[in-house]
């Protein structure tokens, strides 16, 4: 497979980036997208050029490290996959592929295709936890009866890997789907009730402080999420936030 790649190149956070065009040959359909970029980088290194920097870690769709806006969609054209799970068979010989970093003011570019997603960490740190007594007499979580439906919904919300595709896809660069998943995974469980009020208030406040946009319910985040996080979580976040503020 022979491809033309248009890739965003940027030396550092303060420099002005630009799109650069590369030609690449010998790409097999069974290669992952990141393996294709590995091939590109090998070629660049052999020519003495600077390789394209991009985030990756597990390459199994679990860690949430890989990102990339591919042909205008986060994680590319396939559904329910991360970039590392995207295979080159999704493209045709002769295709031009546009590769950009996830764009959001709250996700500044560090270099090339790598963005700083620590805004998500700060949202999580502001309330995405439950306080547990670890003095030795902690109640076994499995001993607490939980409705099966709630347990399933909490688990589905907890599947969020924090990759940032929701922000990248949203026309408003909103982080509502991420924040709602992190609030929901606790809001549905008895262990999460103690800190429920301050959790939602703090996480929403931090989300706003980071400079993410406002959700307008386009649903793009849900479609592009590699873990299928549902818009139901955003409705739950709204309910939790309203409820927390009414309680004071």
């Amino acid at each position: 497979m022979k491809l033309t790649l248009k890739i965003w190149r940027q030396d550092n956070a303060n420099s002005k980036g630009k799109m650069q065009t590369y030609s690449i040959e010998g790409i097999e359909g069974d290669m992952s997208f990141l393996e294709m970029l590995d091939v590109l980088n090998e070629g660049l290194i052999n020519k003495g050029e600077t390789p394209v920097e991009f985030d990756h870690d597990c390459r199994e769709g679990i860690c949430g490290s890989c990102s990339l806006q591919i042909n205008g969609e986060p994680h590319g054209p396939d559904r329910m996959v991360t970039t590392c799970q995207l295979h080159m068979r999704s493209f045709k010989d002769g295709d031009t592929i546009v590769i950009e970093p996830f764009r959001a003011k709250a996700f500044p570019v560090i270099k090339d295709l790598i963005v700083d997603r620590s805004a998500f960490d700060r949202i999580q740190q502001s309330g995405g936890y439950v306080s547990v007594n670890t003095s030795g007499n902690t109640l076994d979580a499995n001993a607490i009866p939980i409705n099966k439906q709630d347990a399933d919904s909490a688990f589905a919300a907890a599947a969020c890997i924090g990759c940032g595709a929701c922000v990248a896809a949203c026309k408003n660069a909103s982080a509502m789907l991420f924040t709602s998943a992190k609030v929901s995974q606790y809001a549905l469980l008895p262990q999460g009730q103690v800190e429920a009020t301050e959790r939602v208030e703090n996480m929403v406040r931090q989300m706003d402080l980071e400079g993410f946009g406002n959700c307008t319910n386009t649903g793009a985040c849900e479609i592009e999420c590699p873990k299928g996080i549902s818009l139901e979580n955003i409705a739950r976040l709204n309910r939790e936030f309203l409820s927390a503020n009414i309680k004071g």
Partner: protein
């Protein structure tokens, strides 16, 4: 209520509540307007009531104007904030792959409806204010039907109204259902709510367009 005033969710809720209020007003407006087609005398009676009842004039009308202003101002504020939140724009952005054109362009349909509102206010509300408070003309409960029909004499104005109603339908197709999601309603009733909102979003503007076209095609002959 510590987090509400400045939060992004509060802004969404303000949009949703003011939008729902305007949706209800649209329904009431349509019910009165359709009587101009099926029962002109009833239209005159109801229009006169709306124009001279103190509760409507001095309580409900200011609330309505407030609702319109809040909805549009907040809409533009959200649009500006959301554009800033993107920062550097994408070289290629395939928004159509994951969201409808309607949901991504509420500002276009909303701004068109706002422009229409100015024309509409000039046509009816401004005229009414001049009639009552500038010219101090006497009450005439029979004038409304004739005045309304004459507004649609011009094919250009009728066309503008119909185009505006089409954009209003697009705006409602996303906005009405979206307001329920914002208010936290996403449950087993959501499918039924979505169906109802879509039917309403098409039926009401279609009904308004029908009224405009009907009066254009059936002018009053003197």
């Amino acid at each position: 209520m510590s987090g509400i005033p400045s939060s992004s969710i509060a802004r969404k809720i303000i949009m949703a509540l003011s939008g729902l209020f305007l949706v209800v007003f649209l329904g009431q407006h349509f019910v009165i307007n359709i009587t101009s087609v099926i029962a002109p005398d009833t239209f005159n009676t109801w229009s006169h009531f709306m124009g001279y009842n103190p509760l409507v004039q001095y309580a409900l009308q200011p609330v309505l104007i407030g609702g319109v202003i809040v909805h549009f101002v907040m809409g533009f504020v959200l649009e500006i904030q959301n554009r800033k939140a993107r920062g550097v724009r994408y070289f290629k952005y395939n928004g159509g792959a994951n969201a409808s054109w309607i949901s991504r362009n509420m500002i276009i349909s909303g701004a068109t409806v706002l422009a229409f509102l100015f024309v509409h206010m000039y046509d009816f509300w401004f005229h009414e204010m001049v009639y009552k408070y500038v010219e101090f003309s006497p009450e005439d409960p029979t004038r409304y039907y004739t005045e309304t029909v004459e507004k649609f004499h011009s094919p250009i104005k009728t066309g503008l109204y119909v185009i505006s109603f089409a954009l209003l339908a697009l705006h409602l197709l996303h906005g009405f259902a979206s307001s329920f999601q914002t208010m936290g309603v996403n449950n087993k009733y959501s499918a039924a709510i979505k169906t109802f909102t879509k039917v309403y979003a098409v039926a009401i503007p279609l009904g308004f367009a029908f009224i405009a076209i009907y009066h254009h095609l059936n002018p009053i002959t003197h």
